[in-house]
Each structure stands twice: as structure tokens, then as C-alpha cells.
Assembly symmetry: C2
Homo-oligomer: 370 residues x 2
């Protein structure tokens, strides 16, 4: 079997799981965090940098890569692995989230969503089948089904119709897909309604997907609402398949969602915040542009072994940002991704040791979260 | 002795020299090329990237670092080596070239040049002594004297007065300097007048500098004029001291100047052109944004062992530039600096083997220069 999900431990005190998801490009230890490589590159980092953070699987965006350079070009360059040089596992999203969250929507129907390219204004007709076609050209290890995402808050009827359409689209994706070396993950929708989420999860669980995602969250609802929906959804998903919470989030969100049975995450936060001079550390967040770091010779995070922390001072990192040097965003992105992987590695070790609750309490204390 | 210049070979067919310049932070093999780290970072590259190109010594800009973060801040961060993390030799320029080429000059006198900061408009009074004071705070291995650079073309009288002032300022720098672990290099001025250049070189050669630079070139004159002035100047400089041609240049300019007795170079061209999508290769220049590279799976330069060439295709590099991704400028800067170092390594080996003329003929043929 090309794909395999082995569950090593399930925490009895929480819903947390420790597992290994095996793909054609290698294993992914779970709980795991995927850096986002929107346009076929994790912004500002070389592939060696990304590997040095400890990341196992990275994410590519079907919407962006489908528009530029275009899926035929990616295919001509040997697929996303050969093109980007990343030899490990890759997951691609379906384009649904981008299409429905950008401003270019022209028409939504049962058949497809028609939108305008943000690059050249061209009208694009994105069907579930076309999303899979693009992802098959990209050649990712995991393809996501096209889903209909509604902005929240929304009327229950709208949420329900989008959720039901997402189920039908998921089925069309599964039927259209032709690559045995590409896993298909379904996406649970249903807004903030537990009964819609449960219905969606059950319907999708009855189909033969290699994994399941919780989508349509981290779109402005409170963390507690997100945790509540996640906690209500995961018990309805097959225990022997990986579960992926899309687009989440802050380090604390990762830990709170691991407790609720999530195995995989992706988020732009470590790289986007890094580019903006914001670092995640064991002493809480640091704004590196702050004047107090001007002559500080201490490292960003003394317990971190990334290039930014082992070779450079806070004073130098601040200088790079104040002077507008590219190296600043690169180093803080590298640090933040290294930090995220360290938090995930700590969570995996804590699940194995049966100390996850204590681990989370320690991290919350370090981060100043009460 | 803290500084030593050992001449291993002097080419009998040309004026080329093969040597080793020893500094407190290690040896610099000559002929050698210094990447430019204007603000304490070679733009877009980590220090590990810079080291991987084969660079021995890098350059920092006194003008830029003196304004931001300021020399007191660099000193508080342990000097430029500790601040930037670069453990090899560093040369700093004097600020003269930037002050005289930027638009902010307020007043030039025998005492100093007064200019407005391009950052906050503050009036700065830059004396020869202050330039050395800044460079002593930076703690570079080599400090350059403050020189008076005139834009070309110019009246002979203006060129002569600036040249004579540069000699007096060089003497003031030498007298003011207090760090034994920092070499002082004088700068020959004199525009395109051979007799002024010769007079300046002789006057400076009579003072005890650890090295000599040819300045005020590569400012718009033709390559042949630059070669002519260089050829007329180097015979007047002490044979046992390193000779540095400032701000030069294209790969062919490096080779033509090595032939004329130059040992050291610096230039922003490999990094600036790299950021603009222009690559130097053994098959001549490549504009990576060109549409013909869209689906090209071949490397930028098959004979290059840099990350860009060993892990990525022309098609991918083009995509990064078209998509505006930071990784494109990073990879092409890395490649160009690697290429420059390879050209210099080839020149050193050719001098040793007595085949420099043939080496240059081969490179010109590869680059399409007749």
C-alpha cells in the first residue's frame, strides 16, 4: 500500500495521537506541522533551510501554482517535487479556500466556481475535477478535494448548502482522481454548527479517503469556537486515518487541537510573522524591531539551535529589519519554523511519555498564557 | 607581524601576481574578489551561503554602517565580525566614494566633507580622522583612507586638487589610526591623467601603508581607459604590498586588471545583477526572466556546484523571479558570487601554471568577447 497511517500511541487523558503517515516521498511524523510554500517556495528560505527546521511535509497552493507558472509548466518541469527541489512529502490544497476568500468570484454553481485571476483578470472555471487535474500535474503526495467555503458568520441555510455541495464535490474528486501515488483527503465543512459538522464528517467518513481535514476554521471565529468545533468533529472521523486542521495556527492552537485529536497542521503564521519581525520563542513573542534590542548581544532564543539563534544577536537581527535587508525576514522565518517544529517534536515526545497535559501547561506558562 | 603579503608567483608574460594576504581573521588568496556586504550583510545571503561561494574576505561600507546602525552600536555588538557572524577577514571602505557620489554634499573643505544623511537628513561632518574612528569601531581587518573622489569627466585642476587633498587626508588617517590589528590601505586618485596618477602613487608609496588601492575608476569611463590608468599606476606601487582596484567589475574587467598587476577587487555587480535576474555563466550572460527558460529543466550553469545550479532548473528560477519570490534573488546572487570566485580561482591556478594568457583567451571565448 502506497499510503499508510500507523498510530503508535493514543493519549488516554486527552484525544491526542502519535503516529506516522507514510507517503511515496517518505514518512511524516504526527502530530506534524507543514510549512507553507505557496508558490513552490517557502518564502525566503532555501530547501536546505526548510529541511534544517525539521519539517517533514510542506504545503503547496493549487490556486497560486495553477495560475503561475500554470500546472502544465509545473508538469513540464517534472512536477512540484522536481521543480522545487523538495524531495520530501508535499500536500497541495485544492484552491477552494483561496478562491472563496479572494475578491474575484464571478459565479458559483453546482458545476464549478468561476473566478477572475488576481494576476491577469482571466476568467477561470474551477470544477472539482479540474482541481484534481491540476494537483495531479503538480504531483503532490496528498491532494485536497475542492470544497465550498463560506465566510463566517453566515446563515445556517447557506452554511448547510455549501457543506452539502462540498460533500458532492468531494465525491466527484474521488471519482475523477487517477493517480494511485496521490492520497486524497476530504474536507469537513459546516461552519460553527456542530450538527452540520457531524453530518458532514459522517458522510465523508463513509467514502474511502486516505485522510480527513477540518476546513473553514481559523477565519475570524474565536479560538474557543474553533476548539469546540474541532472537538465535536474528530470523534466522527475514522480513527485510522490522519486528521488535518487547515490553516491553523498559533503554537497554542496547535497544542489545543492536538489534544482534540488533530494530527496535521499548516499555517503561514511562522513565515509571515517572521517576515514582519515577529518571533516565537520559549520566552514568549518578540518584536525584533523594538528599540530595546538595539545593542542586545543575546540570541533571539537561547534554547534554539537555528542559524538565527546560534550565529546572530538580537541587535544584529534588529539592524537587518531596520535597514530593510532581506536577510532579516529569512532568519526570522527560519527561526519561527524551527520553533514550530520544536513545539511539535515536544508534543510527540510528550504523547509517547504520557505527559502531554504537563507539556502544554509548561508551554502556556512560558508563553504567558493563563 | 599582524599583516603579511606573500608573493608566490609573478607572471613573466603579464604583470599578474599570485599571493596570500594574511590578516588577523585569516588568509586571503590573491587575486581575490570580495563580495559587498553594504549594511553588514551580503544582500539576500546567510553567512554560510557567503562562505560556500569560496569568498575569503568581504567588504562593509563605512558610510552605510556609520549611519545605520551607527558605529557605537556596531561596537556595542562586538564589532562587525561579531555583529554579522562573519569570522573571516573584512575590509571596510572609508565612506568617501558614497559621500562624493550621493547627492547630499553640503560643503567640502580641507578639514572635512559635510553631507546630509540619506536616512534622516542629519548633517554629518566626515573628517579623515572620523572615518578611521568609525572603522576602528567596526573593527575591520583593513581600513581604507578617506579620499576625495571627483566625478568624471572633470577639469584637470579639480582632479589635481582632489588628488593632492586625498594624499593629505591619507596622511592624516595614518597618523590618527591606533589599532595595530587593522591594516590601513591608501587610495590612488588622479582621474584619467596618467601623470597625476603616477604622482599620487609615488607620494602614497613613500608612506607606510599595508596596501594600496586604485580608486575613482569604474565611474563611467570606458573599460580601455580604466585598463590604461590601472596599467600606468600599478608599476608605481610597492611590489610587496597588495593592490586593490575598488568597485570593479565585470568578470572580464577582473581578468584584464589582474594582468595589469591588481590583487584584490570588490563589486556589487554579482549580487545586484543576481537580484535583477541576470546570471553570469561559462556560456555567457543569462537573463532568467526570458520566456525561453519557462519549461527548461537544465541548470543555470552545468559546470557550477552552487545550490542554484545543483538543485534547481532554469524553469524554476524563472518562476521565482516572475512570481516575485525572495528565493530567486537569493539563488542568483549565490550563483553569481560562486561564479566570480570560480573565475578568480581559475586565474590563481593559471598564474601558478604560467597559463594566464591562455586562461583569459578561453574565458573571453566562452563569454563571447572578441
Amino acid at each position: 500500500m502506497t499510503f499508510r497511517f500507523q498510530l503508535h500511541h493514543t493519549d488516554t487523558a486527552t484525544g491526542a495521537r502519535r503516529g506516522t503517515f507514510t507517503t511515496p516521498h517518505g514518512p511524516v511524523e504526527t502530530p506534524g506541522f507543514m510549512p507553507v510554500g505557496t508558490q513552490g517556495t517557502v518564502k525566503g528560505l532555501t530547501i536546505d533551510h526548510v529541511a534544517s527546521t525539521g519539517a517533514h511535509m510542506i504545503l503547496g497552493n493549487t490556486y497560486h501554482l495553477g495560475l503561475r507558472p500554470g500546472h502544465e509548466t509545473v508538469r513540464a518541469l517534472g512536477g512540484l517535487h522536481a521543480m522545487s527541489g523538495w524531495e520530501g512529502p508535499i500536500l497541495t490544497d485544492s484552491g477552494g479556500f483561496q478562491v472563496f476568500s479572494l475578491k474575484g468570484i464571478n459565479k458559483i454553481s453546482e458545476h464549478s466556481v468561476v473566478f477572475r485571476s488576481h494576476i491577469d483578470g482571466a476568467l477561470i472555471d474551477l470544477t472539482p475535477e479540474h482541481s484534481i487535474e491540476i494537483q495531479e500535474s503538480l504531483g503532490s503526495d496528498v491532494a485536497m478535494v475542492l470544497d465550498h467555503v463560506v465566510a463566517l458568520p453566515a446563515e445556517r441555510d447557506d452554511v448547510q448548502q455549501a457543506m452539502e455541495r462540498s460533500i458532492r464535490w468531494a465525491k466527484r474528486c474521488l471519482e475523477y482522481a487517477s493517480r494511485d501515488d496521490q492520497a486524497k483527503f476530504a474536507i469537513v465543512q459546516g461552519g460553527l454548527d456542530v450538527d452540520l459538522r457531524v453530518q458532514c464528517a459522517r458522510d465523508l467518513a463513509s467514502m474511502n479517503f486516505e485522510g480527513y481535514a477540518v476546513g473553514g476554521l481559523s477565519v475570524g471565529e474565536t479560538p474557543d469556537e474553533m476548539y469546540r468545533i474541532t472537538a465535536a468533529t474528530t470523534p466522527e472521523l475514522p480513527a485510522d486515518k490522519p486528521r488535518y486542521l487547515m490553516g491553523v495556527g498559533r503554537p497554542i492552537d496547535l497544542l489545543e487541537s492536538i489534544v482534540r485529536g488533530i494530527d496535521l497542521f499548516d499555517c503561514v503564521m511562522p513565515t509571515r510573522n517572521g517576515r514582519n519581525g515577529f518571533a516565537f520563542t520559549d520566552s514568549g513573542p518578540i518584536k525584533i524591531r523594538n528599540a530595546k534590542h538595539k545593542t542586545d548581544t543575546s540570541p533571539l532564543d537561547a534554547s534554539c539551535d537555528c542559524l538565527a539563534c546560534t550565529r546572530h544577536s538580537r541587535g544584529y537581527l534588529r539592524h537587518l529589519f531596520i535597514a530593510g535587508e532581506m536577510l532579516g525576514p529569512t532568519l526570522l522565518s527560519l527561526h519561527n519554523l524551527t520553533y514550530y517544529q520544536k513545539v511539535m517534536r515536544g508534543a510527540r515526545e510528550a504523547i509517547r511519555a504520557g505527559t502531554l497535559v504537563e507539556y502544554i501547561a509548561t508551554k502556556k506558562n512560558q508563553w504567558g498564557i493563563t
